[in-house]
Point group: D2
Chain length 159, copies 4
């Protein structure tokens, strides 16, 4: 069974809603899913999962400092996440308010850990986003993204 | 009088509409403005302007090849654009469909020419965008962006 | 047998050298490898390969216009590359001269096609690079990158 | 007299060395310069300066969490930095180890504050970097960058 960890920072609850939607999608695709705010997560926990998906509101074009600090501290397990799958999601206040640069900075962190990342050929290409509160299409897309990464994990682990 | 060159690629007309709106804003702010499709522009023409603003639809996360080729060829005037002002705009088909990475790749080109770039503390932070056809707020924001860069040029030239 | 296509643009021969090294690594890892300059490649050819790796010199912070045009034209097969593996490499004239932004723009294109991308937990994290002519460590790293992507392809195809 | 604030995070001392070199260059160009580690700086202090230059080691492709937190907290003065000048510098362990994405994330923060940014047409285009300890050319380039931003500030303030 594919194990998925979703870690996020959320102040207004918008990013938490996307996290929940991704979790529903991953769960419906057959995975065991844990969702937790970054304040309750330790970087070493990532070792126990096949897929790690991280999300943040967009703060000045990038993920929140508290999420970056989580990645900074993940240096203690550098090299041991190699080959796992990473995903990202973000929320912002404007249509071109930094969502893409935020998602990409999270994916960069996963890539530097040697992790596997996948885009989407429709909708939000780099990962799920919302402008302010996620609407119905945002929630639907987030579910699909969760399921997509679980399917990728199954292909990678030769299930 | 500040001289502004707006160069763009547009297939559907959406990017051309944003170009026109930026031109209106720049013109209303007192500048002399030339707007032309990249097919009718030569990189050396940039030498004659104080501000160069480039726009493109988002093709696979970045500006169209034809606009990149325009920048590739600008190597013939490398160093001579140093200190001029650059701006960028983009259109895409989705809310997180690559608009930001497209705008940023244009701004990178200007920065590598030693040019000056400015963000916006509200709305589309890196430069004007639209999702498909520009709507009224998009047009309004594009006008403001054009005016903002003209004002910056005036401050820089000690007018 | 994993099939790998390496497509590149090279003016000085530096990027071609990295392309050859990646090809050697992929071949030694057991793949069938085709290496071709972008002028001799058609986007539809990507359909025949499990792994596509693209490289370019850094021109104003991004890949050459001719390579971007290749990606622009790949819209004709949009959706059909979903799930394949993509990789990227770049050369530049300076240590922080745009290599990273160049590699990332290629990876963005692959991600927008729904392709799978993988970073490296040591050395050049986003993909192989060189500053001017590739030196011995650059060649060695490029070989490893080619082999790494072939191994990933084998895991994905449940060989 | 142009006032410059240099704020940085440094664990090994490499980033601190670049900070000092930029300060020397800015000072020699006639500015009043303050250099301080981010732990001793408050975001509101940026209000008192014409130029703010921020630097960080590259942690997983981006600036350290502690520096991002500094920017997160700068939301309290959002809009009030509009028109000031921003600059960035970074250090990393590898030649393509994330220096560019780190510098760019800092510049994005300044752009989202509406600040003015300038590239360099030679050497490290987006801002000064070093791979591990800064060498002599790195120090020289950092000094030039500091002086360049002071000169830009003087042009902008119509001195």
């Amino acid at each position: 069974m594919t194990k998925v960890m979703i870690v996020y920072f959320s102040k207004t609850g918008n990013t938490a809603k996307l996290a929940e939607a991704i979790a529903v999608g991953a769960s419906e695709a057959g995975a065991e899913v844990v969702v937790k705010p970054v304040s309750a997560a330790k970087p070493t926990e990532m070792l126990d999962y096949d897929v790690v998906i991280a999300g943040s509101p967009t703060y000045y074009g990038h993920s929140a400092g508290v999420l970056r600090t989580f990645f900074d501290e993940s240096v203690s397990i550098h090299g041991r996440l190699n080959g796992k799958i990473g995903g990202a999601f973000a929320t912002s206040a404007y249509k071109s308010g930094g969502n893409e640069t935020t998602i990409l900075d999270i994916l960069h962190a996963f890539m530097i850990h040697g992790m596997v990342v996948k885009g989407q050929h429709s909708k939000d290409h780099y990962g799920p986003t919302s402008i302010n509160t996620p609407n119905e299409p945002d929630i639907k897309d987030a579910k699909k993204y969760g399921a997509m990464l679980v399917n990728l994990a199954e292909r990678l682990s030769n299930v």
